[in-house]
């Protein structure tokens, strides 16, 4: 059992939980994640370790409430418990040791980009972070990222920072400055757009993939993604890959596999379920 020691709302649908997990807090590295299993009947879901404090034995999870499992997690309060937390899983981020890195975070991906910026800063790499949100209230982790370098904020409606998508800001930076590596974490369309931008410029680009996972140990193959025409298991071979070789279309498509089930799951939890059980794969 893992106690939640602190809870904070970061944006309308993003919540930060500091969870006790001593061993993981001590050894986790940038880019790694945990599998969280709230209680007996819950799903096992992967969440990136956004930060940790070995002294208090806590890891920071930053959770965007999108479906049943994430909504249940963000409904927990400090003092309550999560049944299982396994990790740290996945390969640590492939780091450069000198030069200039661009860390791009979209939505909750900003929190995922945080440990990467933190790690790069530690070894003396210059970090520029580009983060985005729909509007001001959706921007998260700006202050944390400022500790590691310059932060450029973009909002879709221009209510804060620059108006526009993160890709617009990224395009400008790449035109002006020498960038040695790009790390992009966020929704699939955003990672795909960044990879398309940097491909022509030959800037090495690392993306963090978010396929559906179960065990996180390489046992089920459910997290498989196509990278450079090879099948990789994101939980053990990733979750970070060379963005120029990832088949984003396939990833996006596979993420929709359980859409009908997810809707039903949420509706049933609210007691408003009118749907038939999805019986077969929709035509």
């Amino acid at each position: 059992m893992h106690q939640i020691l602190a809870k904070q709302s970061l944006s309308p649908n993003v919540t930060r939980l500091d969870v006790h997990a001593q061993r993981i807090a001590e050894i986790r590295q940038a880019g790694q994640f945990v599998i969280v299993h709230l209680n007996e009947n819950s799903e096992r879901i992967p969440l990136t370790i956004a930060d940790s404090n070995p002294a208090t034995g806590t890891i920071t999870l930053v959770i965007q409430a999108v479906g049943k499992s994430t909504n249940e997690l963000v409904a927990l309060n400090a003092g309550e418990f999560i049944r299982d937390v396994a990790g740290p899983l996945g390969h640590p981020t492939e780091m450069i040791t000198s030069g200039h890195a661009l860390c791009i975070g979209g939505g909750v991906g900003t929190a995922v980009a945080h440990p990467i910026a933190q790690g790069l800063n530690k070894v003396g790499v210059r970090v520029t972070s580009v983060i985005g949100g729909r509007s001001k209230e959706w921007v998260i982790f700006e202050n944390e990222l400022k500790r590691y370098g310059n932060v450029i904020v973009c909002t879709d409606d221009g209510s804060y920072g620059r108006k526009g998508f993160v890709t617009d800001a990224v395009k400008e930076i790449l035109a002006k400055e020498k960038v040695d590596i790009v790390y992009a974490v966020g929704p699939v369309p955003m990672m795909r757009a960044v990879a398309n931008l940097t491909r022509g410029l030959g800037v090495h680009t690392i993306v963090s993939l978010n396929p559906v996972m179960i065990d996180g140990t390489g046992m089920c193959g459910g997290c498989r993604v196509s990278v450079g025409n090879e099948t990789k298991f994101a939980c053990v071979d990733g979750p970070e890959f060379d963005g120029h070789t990832v088949n984003f279309d396939e990833l996006q498509d596979r993420l929709s596999t359980y859409r009908e089930f997810e809707q039903r799951s949420v509706a049933c939890a609210r007691g408003t379920c009118r749907m038939e059980m999805p019986t077969t794969t929709p035509a």
Partner: protein
């Protein structure tokens, strides 16, 4: 063996075999001829003293029968249900030559189930504690057996398990209708009462490495199974609706997807489910699909009925439950619609040619025989390999060319004090072979601990209970 009626059981997840009633069990046990040279024992990979426990059973001495059985086999309620008896103990029983062999498996199950319900009648032996610490990686049959043996010898045992529930394949792979999860849970409880500590959610290779465990423990037993799924490597395998058997069965068994939405994990419940393969795993997957409501649950296998590697009873049960078999058929592509959902599988017909090195007749393609098999879910059950997650973080551990850990007949690996057994050494094998490895390795570990250099410093830590 009385069983649930096929039409009923094909719609539920309750155990198929109902267990022998006492009268039948005693009659069956009495069929044993008490051979002077019991061949059945040679057929059992762990040499269970079969005539002895059957003799005690016939005499009505159940507690003693159970004790004798448990002494040879730590998980008889499991093996009685899942051993391929027809190729092991029962195959060589002298009675088999003249008709039916003694039903050793059913009787083993009978005695084991009695023991589960009458634990108070079995003696509890409290061993003298040695203060020696042993770490076990993986809580499948190999790990559980080794833990039980080592605890009996007084060692301080901790099992590390990657998943949130102990049991390995017994929990996430073999379905409820064949091996009720309650039985595995009871066996785990029994170990805990004997002092074994089980830490779930620890992924060795990530949470701890083997060298880190070496620093904290006097010996290590690695039994992490062969859990990496093999795919067919054909086009279309990443379409929505294609599962590895591991994923399909894990969703349903470990995550209880059959109970969605009460349980949060979903599984696609296809109407036409094609399962590729012919082993126990394939039979479990296809019978599960049937129970989830598939109108057609099909086995696609490139050889014939005679070569099916699954237990005979599983094949028989599958047939009774209405599973369809596409023999001499090999998939070459998974076909999808414009939304990338599986709609079928392009297959080739095969014929059996000359025997290959394994002695089995090799399937050969019949040119021009391609056809499309309509299906909306494909489950790939063509095998598993060693998972490199743990071994990659322990470069000193010698592996063979398939990535399996190399261990000698005593379970010793290339690193002193590190032992290994079960599927990680053998490749995908059987429950009883994994248990046999667990037992032998426990004995080797015990011998190693008696001579290990750390002994002197630890003598002060010895507690006597």
């Amino acid at each position: 063996m009385p069983e649930q009626e096929a039409a009923t059981r094909a719609t539920n997840f309750l155990e198929v075999n109902l267990g022998l009633p006492e009268r039948l069990a005693l009659l069956e046990a009495d069929r044993c001829l008490q051979c002077k040279d019991p061949r059945c024992m040679n057929g059992c990979p762990v040499g269970v003293n079969i005539p002895k426990f059957l003799d005690l059973l016939t005499a009505g001495k159940l507690a003693e029968a159970a004790q004798s059985l448990l002494c040879d086999n730590a998980l008889p309620a499991v093996t009685g249900r899942v051993c391929p008896q027809e190729t092991q103990c029962e195959a060589v029983c002298v009675r088999a030559a003249k008709g039916l062999p003694v039903g050793v498996g059913y009787l083993e199950r009978y005695v084991a189930d009695w023991a589960r319900e009458h634990r108070d009648q079995l003696p509890q032996i409290k061993p003298q504690l040695t203060g020696k610490k042993v770490a076990i990686v993986g809580s499948g049959p190999a790990g559980l057996t080794a833990a039980g043996e080592l605890a009996k010898l007084g060692h301080d045992v901790t099992i590390y398990e990657a998943l949130h529930k102990p049991g390995g394949v017994l929990i996430y792979g073999i379905p409820e209708f064949r091996l009720p999860k309650k039985i595995v849970a009871q066996e785990v409880e029994r170990l805990k009462e004997a002092g074994v500590k089980i830490e779930c959610n620890v992924v060795v290779g990530r949470t701890y490495t083997i060298p880190e465990l070496q620093a904290k423990f006097d010996a290590i037993f690695i039994a992490n199974g062969a859990g990496l799924p093999v795919f067919m490597n054909v086009p279309g395998e990443n379409l929505k609706g294609v599962y590895s058997a591991n994923e399909y069965l894990t969703r349903i068994n470990l995550m209880a997807a059959y109970d969605f939405p009460r349980s949060d994990t979903p599984v696609l419940n296809g109407q036409r489910v094609a399962v590729v393969g012919g082993g126990n795993v394939a039979m479990d997957a296809v019978r599960t699909a049937k129970r989830l409501g598939a109108k057609a649950a099909m086995i696609v296998y490139r050889r014939t009925h005679n070569e099916l590697p699954a237990r005979a009873e599983e094949v028989h049960h599958a047939e009774q439950e209405g599973v369809e078999f596409e023999f001499l058929t090999a998939p070459i592509e998974v076909i999808g619609n414009d939304k990338r959902w599986v709609t079928g599988m392009k297959c080739q017909k095969m014929k059996l040619g000359e025997p290959d090195s394994s002695g089995r007749r090799r399937p050969e393609v019949i040119p021009g025989s391609e056809f499309i098999l309509d299906c909306d879910v494909v489950v790939v059950a063509i095998g598993t390999k060693a998972n490199p997650l743990l071994t990659a973080t322990c470069p000193d551990l010698k592996l063979n060319k398939w990535g399996n850990i190399v261990a000698d007949e005593n379970g010793a690996t290339s690193i002193p004090g590190v032992f290994a057994g079960g599927d990680i050494v053998r490749g995908a094998a059987t429950v009883i072979l994994a248990m046999g490895d667990g037992k032998i390795s426990a004995q080797s570990i015990n011998a190693y601990l008696a001579t290990s250099p750390k002994q002197a410093s630890l003598v002060t830590a010895v507690k006597v209970s």
